[in-house]
Amino acid sequence: MSTTWLSVPSGTRRRRNAISTFMLALTVLATLIAVTPLLFILGWLLIQGVRYLNLDFFLNDPAPIGEAGGGVRNGIIGTLIMSGIALLIAVPVGVLTGIFLAEYRGNPLATVVRFATDVLAGIPSIVVGIFVYTIIVLPRWFQGAAFSGFAGGVALAVIIIPILVRTTEEILRLVPGSIREAAAALGVPKWDYTLTVVVPSAFSGIATGIMLGLARAAGETAPLLLTALGNNFYNTKLDQPMAALSLQIFTYAIAPFEEGRRLAFAAAFVLIMLVLLVNIVTRYVFRVRSINL
């Protein structure tokens, strides 16, 4: 008897349930559509890549064209070096800009910078390559070198700066304003509590953004074509053309022989594993260390 006021005509109830089930089905379908290509790529790479993988692949440099064997040691090293340079340049610039945009929102300069960042994020990466080619490679700006690992690192930095700016800004916006008020009420100047309270409480989020940037830098190909150029030999000198995994995937994949396809798959697999590894390690480290908001 006490349920009478709660009960709804059974037709209405059935309709509600039907709509609910239908919407749920739609969501599941959309998720499947989104995830399928990802799983397909990963699965295919796994199958194709692992088949050709062996220790030699990591320890050897590419074999002369047409010969069997050879590895991507120089590409792994090159990718690590150039991504490292990119982070060295982009992290200070990107994170500080993100802090500025988030914490000084009303500043007229912030509007201009935010717009510029959005534009930069939308520039095709090959254009960034041309840009760096024009300002660094052509004038031999870096120690008289033309194509160089340094130029490649700069190109990658330009590409990931907008990513770092955006993620940093968005993460900082999630920090509740009440924490800023608390610090201000203690008589701490704004620049000070921004760096000592606001940024540390968003630290793991900013670190995740940096990892996103790193993953992006490691995977970029087009901007390296015109800057690092690629190199068939082992090289760690910044003023020499430098190999990169992504460039090797590109050259091997379009090479007109079976061996090339084999190497391309294996290199792609290594690249993805590298990115995955960096992601997992950083996530683990920062999860343990940071106090959540």
């Binding site: 009440s178 610090a183 008589g187 409480s201 106090i291 959540n292």
Partner: protein, 280 residues
């Protein structure tokens, strides 16, 4: 004319009282003919009040009448909001808080604030207290002592002394609020502003905070906003009743006086209506 003369005199003494970082002031706040604007909207009109040292003043009034705004003008938290404007004068021990020569940092160190929702930093309990001390330049070896003293004053020491390194966010709401009070007290302010400090707390936590306020009263001027008239009656020595202007909606002070008098024999009809529940 007279006002201007006073203003000059006040500016001279400003450096002495507010600028000197070591001098402990009495905590006497004086508000005279203060008007406050959010852009074009006037939120406070003609506020004249005296907050005496060693007493607890409660500010009561209906929602939106400007209680929080008034409180925030007292330690210049309103500086953080763009397009706000203060007219008139607010002094601490005779020094104009809004004088050009005054650094807002010094104002806030002398006039601490506790907010409606507990807002500890996402740091350890210890670090919540030590943070402000470090910014203030307290030596590392003195920190432990100061932290303990502040936590004791806030009546929290016994509950947290064995877990100072755990997150301040892991405490209960009431404990978090007392942590925030300890954080403010650690800076050794002369005045403590509290904006509905108990509104997010249960009755027992509320009683603890009220007890704490009464204990602190001797050494510090306390100004608290509250929606609870029982609370105003329990803790405060003086009560300020505010209301919105009928036209223009600016907040103003209707009546102020010793809490007992104001509750038992209000002079203004509107005060009587409000405390007897016939209003807002």
């Amino acid at each position: 004319m007279e006002l201007e003369l006073t203003y000059d005199r006040v500016q001279e003494s400003t450096q002495a009282a507010v600028g000197d970082r070591t001098a402990r002031c009495n905590g006497h706040i004086h508000v005279r003919d203060m008007h406050f604007y959010y852009g074009a909207f006037q939120a406070l009109r003609g506020i004249t009040l005296d907050f005496a040292p060693g007493a607890i003043t409660a500010i009561i009034g209906p929602s939106g009448c400007g209680k929080s705004t008034l409180l925030r003008t007292l330690n210049r938290m309103t500086d953080m909001q763009p397009n706000t404007r203060v007219e008139g004068m607010i002094t601490l021990d005779g020094s104009d808080l809004y004088a050009r020569s005054v650094d807002v940092v010094d104002v806030r160190r002398r006039i601490g604030m506790v907010f409606q929702r507990p807002n500890p930093f996402p740091k350890s309990i210890y670090e919540n207290i030590a943070y402000g001390l470090r910014r203030k330049g307290v030596a590392r070896r003195d920190l432990d002592g100061h932290v303990e003293q502040a936590l004791r004053k806030a009546g929290l020491w016994n509950e947290v002394s064995n877990r100072l390194q755990t997150s301040g966010l892991a405490l209960s709401g009431g404990q978090q609020q007392r942590l925030c009070i300890a954080r403010a007290l650690a800076m050794n302010p002369a005045v403590l502003l509290m904006d509905e400090p108990c509104s997010a707390l249960d009755p027992i936590a509320t009683l603890k905070i009220e007890e704490l306020m009464r204990e602190l009263r001797r050494e510090i001027t306390i100004i608290t906003v509250t929606h609870s008239m029982q609370q105003a009656g329990r803790v405060s020595d003086t009560t300020v009743f505010m209301l919105m202007d009928v036209n223009g909606r600016a907040g103003m002070v209707v009546e102020t006086g010793p809490t007992n008098d104001l509750f038992t024999a209000p002079r203004d009809q509107r005060t009587e209506d409000y405390i007897s529940g016939r209003f807002g």
